[in-house]
């Protein structure tokens, strides 16, 4: 299901998510990336779990508050620091697998095959560079906050939020690894043909 944003690939489902196994750009012929499928899937499942819990937790809180004067303490903190972070980062590698990160298709259709190859290479390298910086810094932050034992003040108690700091370097590294392996796989294929 779509955000208001899609890759302009004009596929049936805007984000291409209805086709978990068929017709995706990777198509499994890149043997190098295949062993990443399990962690990518597990990440996605954890995000699905987080989304479900988010809905339930907030609903219980609203019902408790409006009907019984019993809000669920810590809802704001748990939803923001746990479920939201899981939803925002864990599907990254899955999106990369489906080539579903939002981009703009402006001129590339006018390019020659060679130009298109170079453009694609450039875009991939830029993404890899960005993710490398992101993962590196998120890793440092996760260590820092774990050492500091980061907490948020909630209604009457403290919520430890440092554990979800680790989701960022994990998600970043997974997507990074996937993109690097795919690039290597592509390069090998180009050399073969």
């Amino acid at each position: 299901m779509a955000s208001d944003s899609i890759s302009a690939s004009g596929r049936d489902t805007p984000s291409g998510l209805d086709t978990p196994d068929g017709g995706r750009p990777d198509d499994g012929h890149n043997r190098l990336t295949r062993w990443l499928n399990p962690p990518i899937r597990v990440s996605l499942w954890v995000a699905i779990l987080a989304g479900t819990l988010m809905m339930l937790n907030v609903t219980v809180d609203v019902l408790g508050r409006t009907l019984f004067n019993l809000p669920l303490p810590g809802t704001t903190e748990f939803v923001s620091a746990y479920y939201m972070v899981a939803a925002a980062y864990l599907p990254w590698a899955w999106l990369a697998l489906n080539d579903d990160h939002i981009k703009v298709d402006l001129f590339t259709r006018m390019l020659s095959p060679r130009g298109r190859f170079l453009q694609d290479l450039f875009a991939k390298l830029a993404t890899i560079l960005y993710l490398a910086i992101f993962t590196w810094q998120a890793w440092i932050m996760a260590i820092q906050q774990t050492e500091k034992g980061e907490v948020w003040e909630a209604a009457g108690f403290y919520v430890a939020v440092w554990p979800t700091r680790w989701l960022l370097p994990f998600a970043g590294a997974l997507m990074l690894l996937y993109l690097v392996l795919r690039l290597v796989g592509d390069a090998l294929r180009v050399r073969r043909s």
Binding site: R65, N69, T75, E153, G156
Partner: protein, 363 residues
Amino acid sequence: AAPLASDDAQAKELIYGSWLPQAEYTNAVALPTIFEEIKKETDGEIEWRLVPGGQLANPKTTFDAVQNGLMAAGIGIPSYVPNLVPASNTIYGTVQFGTNPVVAGAAATETLTLDCPECLAEFRKINAVPLAGWTVSPYYFACREPVASMEELKGKRVRATGVGNTELVGMTGATPVAATLVEAVSLLQRGGLDCTFGVVEWLRTFGYADFVKNLTNYPLGMTGPALGLLINRDVWDDFTKEEKILHLKKAAWFSAAQSIGQFIDNEKKALEWAQKEKGLKLIEPTDAGEFKKLTEDFDKIQRQRNIETAKGFGVKDPAAIIDAYNKNYAKWEKLAPEIGTDIDKMAEMVWQEIYSKVDPDSF
């Protein structure tokens, strides 16, 4: 076009990132005043630029932004990062049940600056210099329906955040609801919330006065949320001794302006406005004694809890910090009549009693 920040040779432009809205007193009056004076008194050597509205960092990330040098200074609220500055949070998490923010603000600043080496050490660890503290004015219950007794608070949904406030609201028999200040507006509108627990000024700044027509006239404690000049330590170390002293003096004035201009004068104006324009009624408690008892009960509980919390974060002797705060509170209660509501007078006293005793080079 204006010169940019960074290594400009002649003038230092320093970025102050504030997450408060542009029109708020701190951003509209207090900060522009001291920044103007600093520029003038250093002959343009030091120029502070205010970036308001949370464009650079929010309350939680201000500490990171100052530590890393993205901002040269910002507003630091210890209770947002209790694990980073647990000793300071012991001061700022303690609720004082008086009514004068001058007293609590100055006492908190003195405790942090002169009586709590552990506090200073924890700020040194995060590459920051903590200047210009204040506490807010007392919190009140403001409700849609009149509330004159604890009995009438029972079962009411009250916006409250933070450990102490949540606990205090819970002790009245009301149900604390953790909504953000902005969310509370729509919740108050048709009964998602019955009351807010906070300063009078919110009735105006967040528009609560449209829905909340009754203020229970019993002050329920001042907490100390803020350090107004959390300065990046590298920036501080680059100052000359004179510049450091200048900033300490301006910090004293900033504390005073916040305590009096913001939390006494503006509170009064906001109350008058709400009464006149919005028909806010002051509800006198039927039995003030029960509210007094509430504060006494809470005082005992909070001492114990604050000590335990601080120990949990590794503070060595939190009891000593709280005792120092209470001692300083008593001291400033005696000095308060002399200050009245004179900002310059308070600035002078804070300088005399607190910042003049600091060695600017080893601070």
